[in-house]
């Protein structure tokens, strides 16, 4: 036994021992290498004779033991651990690398269509999207194949169109032979465009439109070429024999329309008269379809990733893309004698600039030959017979553009506005959108609105009479707008909108269904508007509390407005979309814009205890400051101007009397008291232009501490009573607006607010001031008018005609009687 064998045995032994000894491991491998024996310390010294005394069996035993997989693993793990390497992860990575080559994605192609759901007779565009090709897409060759539906027996137009189906004129239109016809049909459309080839005599070819095709794409010229086809099951790319490594373009091989035979190859830089005729191209135009490529280049499909044709239901389309893969070309020579899945790694890579030249088809189509059964596992077996095999795979890859879209569900999505709808306040808009609807305007929509108290229901249908929807189903009804006026006083409830859609495409019905649950807040919660006192402090006095003002609260320029949240403990205020800095439940903000403008306050509040979220809005309209003069005295009555008829929800009519606000009648000799609604300063009363300050003997008038004017009317007099005041923010309010909102102090202005009423003194109230008299009197007078206005217009018209004719006949009768008799004398 030589010394080397002994040394190796000891080395392994030490590694095994060391792997289980952390202290030794930490001592370092370098020491052991430099001083292998010294490193063992005294034990080696004492056992120095052991080495020399080891028998060959013992050494073999040690080596065998060391070579056991478990022990090797333990040893290697120990080394890895000492170096800080996760050996388990490293092993996984190594294993992944080992099989990575089989999992590489080969060049492939997918198609998208526009429109996605084609209808008969419509032009459809197929767009090929190649991936994992090294080439720029415009240098790839796209061979399209179009299988027309009417070329199959059973189609209604089969007999009429079957002559078009043998595109290459070779008399074969079925099975694999038909694939060439499909390819010729498609590439003719690409190359010829709309050229009227039947009118072309094809006598002279003078356009020099040939194209020398380059294997693997036009950007691969002068490179070595190695062709492969993928076996998708095994993940192995099988190399084709050189004589199979050719273009699989459609060739002009068959018969022309004039009956003469043709056998011309595509991409040979020769595109003569017969080829022009075969491909229906213009022999006088280099690019018949005017598509930036010569006619032969078009036939070869160079850069033609888009194909358009007039769709017939049942048409099938496919594309074969030729180019070079992103993967290096590997020689199809297996390292003998190993035959295993990893043999591909053992192949020699070509030491040249080549990549794998490959073809991509739809649906992972490639060879299904089992390489393990072949004589050479990396070479395509003999069963791969060039064009015929390619056509077999290609034919199986064709797809119907409508396939997969006609039967699938419509992808409907629903949305609603506003984000936080409030009952009895907002109008709710529910909109739908669909990504795969062919024609939205012809899609039938059926909406159902249900209400529930919880998000889980139960749900009860809300009828159109409540939602206000004129119709809830119909064609093109892709959105609905409903009035939120639901008879529900709960603070929160839910609406469930269910939309069913259906669309009829070529006899196939596509349906869609979508449900949306919308939380609705009750309008009983609202932002409260509060008055601000002269010191600029918010008060408890509510303003804008009437129904009309609650919806649109009138405010004045340079006024401070107080608002209060109804509930919650966390608040976020927004004024016209801008956040307000104060986030308490009561805040103040100024009105700084001129009359006519609007402001919207939005409140988002959260109740931390219940988790309830609330969103409310309040709208303010800036108006000019006004005031009015009113009286509670029965001795003063306003003049009745007329009657409005309000139409109620149930169709009945309620008359509403409209009284003048500035013309009154007062009983003579009776006291009247007038009150001004003006909250503004410098409030003064005038009677016939004379200011009433305290008491006035002339008019017997006085102004009390509440600023009410009282005087006794005198018979035969008319009074013009005015009240004036000045609207201006107080100094405290101005200071607050200036300090908190940065408004210059010189930008505030005063406004005079005047109101005048006229009082006619009467002995007793006229009918114009008493509702009963004013209402009933005209009613009696207008009986005939009401009768006629209620009749249909045409009856009235006929009545007028008859009256007119009767009048004419009567008049002519009178005239005849007035004419003198003949004088016999």
């Amino acid at each position: 036994m030589n010394i080397f064998k002994k040394f190796f045995a000891i080395l392994l032994l030490l590694v095994i021992i060391g792997s289980s000894n952390a202290q030794y491991a930490s001592a370092g491998l370098l020491d052991f290498v430099l001083n292998p024996l010294g490193g063992l310390g005294g034990s080696i010294d004492s056992g120095g004779g052991i080495i020399s005394g080891l028998s060959e069996d013992s050494i073999n035993s040690i080596i065998e033991s060391a070579l056991k997989p478990a022990n090797i693993d333990t040893a290697v793990n120990g080394i890895g651990t000492s170096l800080g390497i996760d050996m388990l992860e490293t092993r996984r990575t190594l294993k992944s690398t080992y099989v990575m080559n089989y999992k590489k994605n080969p060049p492939s192609v997918s198609l998208s269509f526009a429109p996605a759901s084609p209808v008969a007779g419509e032009e459809i565009t197929a767009i090929a999207q190649p991936v994992n090709f090294m080439n720029d897409p415009k240098f790839l060759y796209y061979t399209w194949a179009l299988d027309r539906a009417y070329c199959h027996p059973g189609h209604p137009d089969y007999e009429k169109k079957r002559s078009e189906c043998d595109a290459d004129g070779n008399g074969k239109t079925s099975g694999i032979d038909a694939i060439e016809d499909y390819k010729v049909t498609a590439m003719r459309i690409i190359a010829s465009g709309d050229f009227d080839w039947k009118s072309e005599p094809y006598t002279i070819d003078d356009d020099d439109d040939g194209h020398k095709a380059v294997l693997g794409g036009t950007d691969q010229a002068n490179k070595n070429v190695h062709c492969y086809v993928r076996n998708y099951a095994t993940g192995i790319d099988l190399q084709l024999e050189p004589f199979r490594c050719v273009h699989y373009f459609p060739n002009a091989k068959g018969k022309l329309d004039n009956g003469s035979s043709i056998n011309e190859k595509t991409g040979d830089d020769s595109f003569g008269l017969k080829e022009e005729r075969f491909w229906h191209t213009n022999p006088h135009s280099k690019s018949t379809a005017n598509n930036e490529t010569s006619d032969e280049e078009s036939v070869s499909g160079r850069g033609k990733n888009i194909f358009k044709w007039n769709y017939v239901p049942g048409d099938k389309i496919g594309v074969l893309v030729e180019g070079v893969s992103t993967d290096f070309a590997v020689a199809g020579e297996a390292p003998s004698p190993i035959v295993s899945p990893d043999s591909q790694l053992g192949g020699n890579m070509y030491k040249d600039s080549s990549y794998k030249m490959m073809w991509a088809m739809l649906g992972n189509r490639g060879t299904d030959e089992n390489p393990a059964r072949a004589s050479n596992p990396l070479l395509a077996p003999l069963s791969v017979k060039g064009t015929r095999s390619f056509n077999k795979w290609f034919g199986a890859s064709l797809i119907d553009p409508a396939e997969g879209t006609s039967n699938e569900q419509q992808d409907i999505s629903l949305s609603f506005l506003p984000d936080n709808p409030i009952n009895k306040t907002d109008a709710l808009i529910i909109q739908s959108s669909a990504t795969n609807v062919a024609m939205q305007e012809f899609t039938a929509y059926d909406w159902k609105i249900e209400k529930g108290q919880t998000i889980d229901g139960p749900w009860t249908v809300v009828p159109n009479s409540i939602t206000g929807l004129k119709k809830s189903s119909g064609i093109g009804l892709n959105s609905i707008k409903m009035n939120l006026n639901l008879p529900d006083n709960n603070s929160k409830f839910y609406l469930r909108a269910t939309l069913r859609t259906s669309e009829d495409i070529e006899g196939l019905e596509k349906k869609g269904l979508k449900t949306l649950i919308i939380p609705i807040q009750s309008s009983s919660d609202s932002i409260k508007t509060l008055s601000v006192d002269r010191s600029g402090n918010i008060t408890d006095r509510e303003r804008c509390s009437s129904a009309t003002e609650r919806a649109l609260c009138p405010v004045f320029k340079n006024e401070l407005i107080g608002i209060e949240a109804p509930s919650g403990d966390k608040f976020s205020w927004m004024l016209d979309g801008n956040p307000l800095s104060d986030n308490s439940n009561r805040i103040v903000f100024p009105i700084l814009t001129d009359s006519g403008s609007m402001h919207t306050v939005k409140l988002d509040s959260i109740n931390s205890r219940t988790g309830e979220k609330l969103t409310l809005t309040k709208v303010f309209q800036v108006v000019e400051p006004t005031a009015s003069i009113t009286s509670g005295s029965s001795n003063l009555k306003p003049i009745l101007l007329g009657t409005f008829n309000d139409t109620n929800e149930d169709g009945t009519i309620t008359p509403r009397q409209d009284y003048s606000t500035d013309s009154f009648e007062a009983l003579a000799g009776q006291p009247i008291i007038l009150t001004s609604s003006s909250p503004f300063s410098s409030n003064k009363w005038f009677i016939n232009g004379t200011e009433i300050n305290g008491t006035n003997a002339t008019f017997g008038a006085s102004v009390d501490s509440n600023n009410n004017l009282a005087f006794t009317t005198v018979a035969g007099n008319n009074y013009s009573v005015s009240n004036t005041s000045v609207y201006a923010p107080t100094t405290a309010v101005k200071a607050k607006i200036h300090n908190d909102w940065g408004v210059p102090l010189n930008s505030f202005e005063e406004k005079n607010v005047n109101q005048t009423i006229n009082i006619a003194v009467v002995d007793q109230f006229s009918s114009a001031t008493t509702g009963t008299v004013a209402q009933t009197s005209p009613a009696k007078q207008k009986v005939l008018a009401s009768l006629f206005s209620g009749l249909p217009a045409y009856i009235n018209f006929l009545f007028r005609i008859i009256i007119t004719m009767a009048l004419i006949l009567f008049s002519t009768g009178i005239m005849f009687s007035l004419f003198p008799k003949q004088n016999q004398s």
Partner: protein, 229 residues
């Protein structure tokens, strides 16, 4: 103061004139009143407009004839007497009207200016409704009023001049409604030709029949020329 003999005779002549011409004078007033009402009576929509024409150009004249004049409608041309003669003159009228149209087409491009509804031209049932109801109504009212009610009161005293009188009134009527254009050409032709036929036969029904056939042939020919048929 007793008047002189000359004055007496003059008054007597006026009185006799008024007596002899009272029917014509009052009828003229009624005619003008009917036309005035047809033009200016307030209406709303086509139905009321048609109704107004029907009442003022047809019903009112009939009532006037029956109630005021106490005469039979046959005395105003509403009769079929002299059938052979009537059909003869109606045929003459039809041929003459068509020849007139031919001349207008040949020399004045009448076919380029005469328009007809696209729907009438392309939908045959619509053509029938248009010709047999709408056109029939207009032409019958037109014949009754102008060739019957207007022409016959003057025929007895003015003879053939009554044809001219009804024609002038008709033209004034067209001017007042501002429709003197190529579209009114058939009505103008019918007004002269129909007046002659009515005068010759003492009946407007023959001219009505001839005018209806004339307008149907004309419209059909225009549709044929338009290529819309």
């Amino acid at each position: 103061m007793p008047c002189s003999y000359r004055e007496h005779m003059s008054n007597q002549n006026i009185s006799n004139f008024l007596h002899n011409w009272k029917t014509e004078i009052i009828s003229s007033a009624v005619i003008l009143l009917c036309l005035f009402l047809d033009l200016f009576f307030p209406t709303d929509g086509y139905l009321q407009k048609f109704s107004a024409s029907f009442f003022f150009l047809f019903v009112l004249p009939i009532l006037y004839i029956k109630i005021i004049l106490k005469k039979d409608l046959s005395q105003f041309g509403f009769n079929l007497q002299n059938k052979r003669r009537g059909f003869f003159w109606a045929t003459i009228m039809l041929v003459a009207s068509l020849l007139t149209i031919a001349v207008l087409i040949y020399f004045f491009n009448f076919d380029q200016n005469y328009s007809i509804s696209f729907y009438v031209a392309t939908i045959f049932p619509m053509f029938l409704i248009y010709e047999l109801i709408y056109i029939n109504f207009i032409y019958f009212i037109n014949e009754f009023f102008f060739r019957g009610f207007v022409m016959f009161p003057f025929m007895k005293k003015l003879g053939a001049w009554s044809v001219l009188i009804q024609f002038l009134i008709f033209i004034l009527y067209l001017i007042s409604i501002q429709t003197i254009d190529w579209q009114a050409t058939p009505l103008i032709i019918v007004s002269i030709a129909g007046g002659i036929v009515s005068y010759k036969n003492k009946s407007f029904l023959y001219s009505y029949a001839a005018s209806l056939v004339f307008i149907i042939i004309l419209d059909a020919f225009m549709i044929y020329l338009s290529g819309l048929n």
